[in-house]
Amino acid sequence: MEQEAQGHAGYRVHVEEVFEGPMDLLVHLVKKNEVDLYDIPIAVIASQYMDYLKMMKGLNIDVAGDFLVLAATLAHIKSRMLLPCCEEDQDEEDPRMEIVRPLEEYLRLKYAAEDLSLRNQLDWDVFARGAPEIAELSEEPSEDLVQVSLFELIDAFKRIVRRVSAEEFFHITVDTISVKSRIGEIVDFLEGRDSVTFEALFEGQVTKGQIIVTFLAILEMAKSQVIRIMQHRASGVIRVFYG
């Protein structure tokens, strides 16, 4: 890769092709130096890490900010190791643990990823039957069950968004969805009853957010005339009528 990069002036390599990320580079260095993960010579590793960053910059590789964050962490650990403060009977733990722990966790998951990729993968190592003789066998599909993933639903939505201008969708936010959700609950509550008191709709709504959402839901429902809101002239009780 080195010769290649030198051969082409202006040739840019994404750092992902070299090291997926800073943790990957660190793993590589620990491995290359054949050092004990639990006793990393931090000065050596930190300086090699910096050399790599310099080299990558020299090769016009985009070095992401993540690499610099880890470089700073390594430098910090190195400086703490130099401080004579923590000699014997130290209460303070080895400063290197700051990097060893995540490294350990990362390695364990890397092994897991390797194990996974060694399994017999469907549609690569093994193949199942497609939907054979489907025309012959599928008469009428079952009525009551439907199988789709959430992602398919989102995909369908995406297709529509692509076709329609975005203004139609700008108001889809977490808040409006909370309101929609509450509308559903209110309809559940109203089903089978003609009317309920306004207050009844706030039962169990304790937080300020819940109350606001319930109120917005009632307004929205009144606006789309799913409900009617009436006040009794004499008692002043507000009732919500369904349908």
Binding site: P132, L137, L145, V146, Q147, D155, I160, T173, G243
Partner: protein, 180 residues
């Protein structure tokens, strides 16, 4: 030939369409016609003598594994007990109902640009969409929303757990004309 048999069987098994002797030869690269034919005959005999659930059918100039006719009734019943899939049109309609509820049929049709009566009826019949009420407009049109069944189907605790456009944006979805 002994090793040819299981390999050819695996090809027949994995193929969605009938395979000709030449198809098989092309995959195996080696292998003369005669031994392929012999392996196919031997497989066909195996299926018959061992009373397997399928047989080797010679169709359209090729060979295909098929469910044995006497067991078709079971296979048919299996299809019936299996969940049906929603069509693309139904998915789009459902997505609009989910994200835009409470919504009118005319709103859905405005967004999809086509008549949605049929798909809406299917969704109502399947119980994933329900009528929330009527709107006080000329003709008192029905207002639609999703049902509890919808949440179950997508394994959602409530509608708040439905991913929003913003969530998708965050994992790097490219949205056209983004304004969210």
């Amino acid at each position: 030939m002994d090793s040819l048999k299981p390999i050819i069987e695996s090809l027949l098994f994995a193929s969605d369409t009938p395979l000709t002797v030449d198809n098989i030869r092309a995959v195996l690269e080696t292998g003369d016609r005669r031994s392929i034919r012999a392996a196919l005959e031997s497989l066909a005999r195996d299926y018959d003598t061992q009373k397997r659930g399928f047989f080797l059918s010679e169709v359209a100039g090729g060979y295909q594994l098929r469910t044995r006719p006497e067991y078709r009734q079971w296979a048919r019943r299996l299809k019936k007990t299996k969940p049906a899939r929603l069509s693309r049109a139904a998915m789009e309609t459902l997505a609009i109902v989910a994200y835009k509820q409470p919504v009118l049929r005319s709103d859905i049709e405005h967004l999809r640009g086509v008549d949605c009566g049929g798909t809406l009826r299917t969704l109502l019949e399947r119980g994933v969409v329900r009528v929330l009420g009527r709107k006080d407009l000329p003709g008192r049109p029905l207002v639609y929303g999703t049902s509890k069944r919808f949440l179950e189907m997508f394994d959602l605790k409530d509608l708040n757990n439905l991913p929003t456009l913003k969530d998708l944006q965050e994992i790097g979805e490219a949205w056209p004309n983004d304004s969210t």
